[in-house]
Symmetry: C2
Subunit: 345 residues, 2 copies
């Protein structure tokens, strides 16, 4: 290691260097960088060439200190699912790259009480222009109100039924669940179990309602169906599956409120020696990575996570530019048919 005796870093290129090379004032360079009007096309060109020639990159800290904007937006979440977080990050990143903004990613996992302070500190310290808030943080009333009180701009992803006027990107969980249930009914299933999602998640209720909608439409008695509570993980899904399979009259299909629980149901079927899908069809929700991993692969609802994050970032960027934005943008889901479902026996 020769770190200690390394020469100093090459001096950073500043706006002055560009100005000198282009033969204009730094203010004009600044105008060009910010696409401001009032620069003659030929001047603009000169400056752009100088920027390119020097490989000049403006200093983010200097810009945020001097100006009203920081060209930085934050993404916050408090989510233990690696796949979900990964998708959200990538969606938001893609949009920011297009808009030439930087994304400051902040995991709030396991922060508990100090959550609000952390988020406010993030906003204060980094000067982010706005926030994209992923679930379940997007449904956190206290947080949302705190941000609102400080006049922080934000866009929420899948905030559930909240009535807050800030823009949000959502998906129609209820309708998707209805469609999946209808699909199972279309396969001839008449006895269809349901594994309920975590009661704290707003989407759980919506999915449950969609399931009920489809049964009603088909004239099937919902109260005669086996319904078990799960908590969005494999273990509780598996337990719920076992309980249903051990019934005197087990269902021929089970719809779980998310993929992890559906995977648990498949495992339960393995344990009981029940073949999927010939004797039991299983459907999930989310199209998370696990849907393609389990055997057989899972029929599920594709939730456009990355697209939702991308759209949320777009809305935020528009909002920051002062554009009027729709309060709620709803994105389309897709029913993905894979190996875990088949016609009723």
């Amino acid at each position: 290691m020769n770190v200690g005796i390394r020469p100093a870093l090459a001096p950073r290129k500043t706006i002055d260097d560009v100005a000198e090379l282009a033969g204009v004032s730094i203010k004009t360079v600044s105008r060009v960088m910010n696409s401001e009007p009032g620069v003659r096309p030929e001047t603009r060109l000169k400056v752009q060439q100088a920027i390119a020639e020097l490989h000049y990159k403006p200093s983010l800290p200097a810009r945020s200190l001097a100006g009203k904007r920081s060209n930085l937006i934050g993404l916050i979440y408090d989510n233990p699912s690696a796949n979900y977080v990964f998708d959200v990050q990538n969606g938001a990143i893609a949009r920011c790259r297009e808009a030439d903004l930087r994304l400051f990613i902040q995991s709030c996992n396991g922060l508990g009480e100090s959550l609000i302070d952390e988020v406010l500190a993030l906003v204060e310290q980094t000067h982010v222009d706005g926030l994209v808030i992923a679930p379940p943080l997007s449904a956190d009333r206290v947080l949302i109100e705190a941000l609102d009180a400080r006049h922080v701009r934000f866009v929420r992803i899948a905030p559930g039924e909240g009535d807050h006027p800030s823009p949000a990107v959502t998906m129609d969980d209820r309708e998707a669940a209805r469609e999946m249930t209808a699909f199972l009914i279309g396969l001839g299933h008449r006895r269809i179990g349901f594994v309920t999602g975590h009661p704290d998640h707003l989407s759980s209720r919506q999915r449950s309602d969609g399931y009920a909608d489809a049964l009603r439409e088909a004239g099937i008695d919902r109260d005669a169906q086996p319904i078990e509570q799960g908590y969005n993980d494999i273990a509780t899904g598996s337990e719920a599956g076992l309980r249903m399979l051990d019934l005197a009259e087990p269902p021929t299909a089970i719809f779980a409120s998310n993929d992890d629980m559906a995977a648990g149901v498949i495992r339960a079927a393995h344990e009981r020696g029940v073949d999927v899908p010939s004797r039991l069809s299983v459907a999930g929700f989310d199209d998370s990575q696990i849907a393609g991993i389990v055997w057989p692969t899972l029929t599920t609802i594709h939730q456009p996570t990355a697209d939702m994050a991308n759209e949320a970032a777009r809305l935020l960027i528009d909002l920051l530019k002062g554009k009027e934005t729709a309060p709620v943008t709803e994105l389309a889901y897709t029913l993905i048919k894979r190996g875990s479902t088949a016609p009723a026996p």
Copy 2:
């Protein structure tokens, strides 16, 4: 939306407010914030109280503009595995939180040619003090050299066999693979298949070598064992598994160079009606999330991904403080015994 007519944000608290409340100059406040010596304990206390009372948070941009440090470090990766990335992020985040630094997470997924430019732009624009580089970027010679040329400080995670003198955090893949193979041999297996990892990953060769080491030690002829090439994903793992199971004399155990491929092998066993683990033991490597998802759950090597990232961040922070650091830190792996392995039939 009433964004347009919202009142201005509450004025940000500045160092001046703190100075005034504490009855000292801003420079003294600055000293206290940076834990600089030469402040009387009683003065320090006064200032700290003022900071607490006002909930004052120093402006990151202002600090990085004025000072030599930005209190920001970057984490870069180019990795398609959500689980791996998630662990790396969390490990690094935890350390940064302790050190009161911010972490700037930058995904370089799918950047190709422009990778170097992107990373250099990140460094230039954000003024990060240093970089934590996760694999496979950590093995990218061109990138490493480019960063070196600019005298950017960095620490690499699992850089493979590179001979660069910068600090790195590694794990002994070869020894871990040897141990896993020895474990299978200890269970009585004498015919042990191996699914090779992606040839571009340096760790693949090391794991393969460890497998060979154990066979040699046990006096088992390596060349008589079925060895199939995989590409670190479920599909190729599954194909490799099928080929081995269709042999006239199939192996009683299969060791795959990573968990995804091991999951593929298990799927292949399901397809062929071969019970795991009674008729076939399967072992993986990584202890990624999938290891706990497949059925039966996977015996594997726990790679301390989060710990490695945490340690890498620690090394970087030390490096930035000017402390001398060991060039390579090796972290311990753990052999995790789960349901996919059993004594040879």
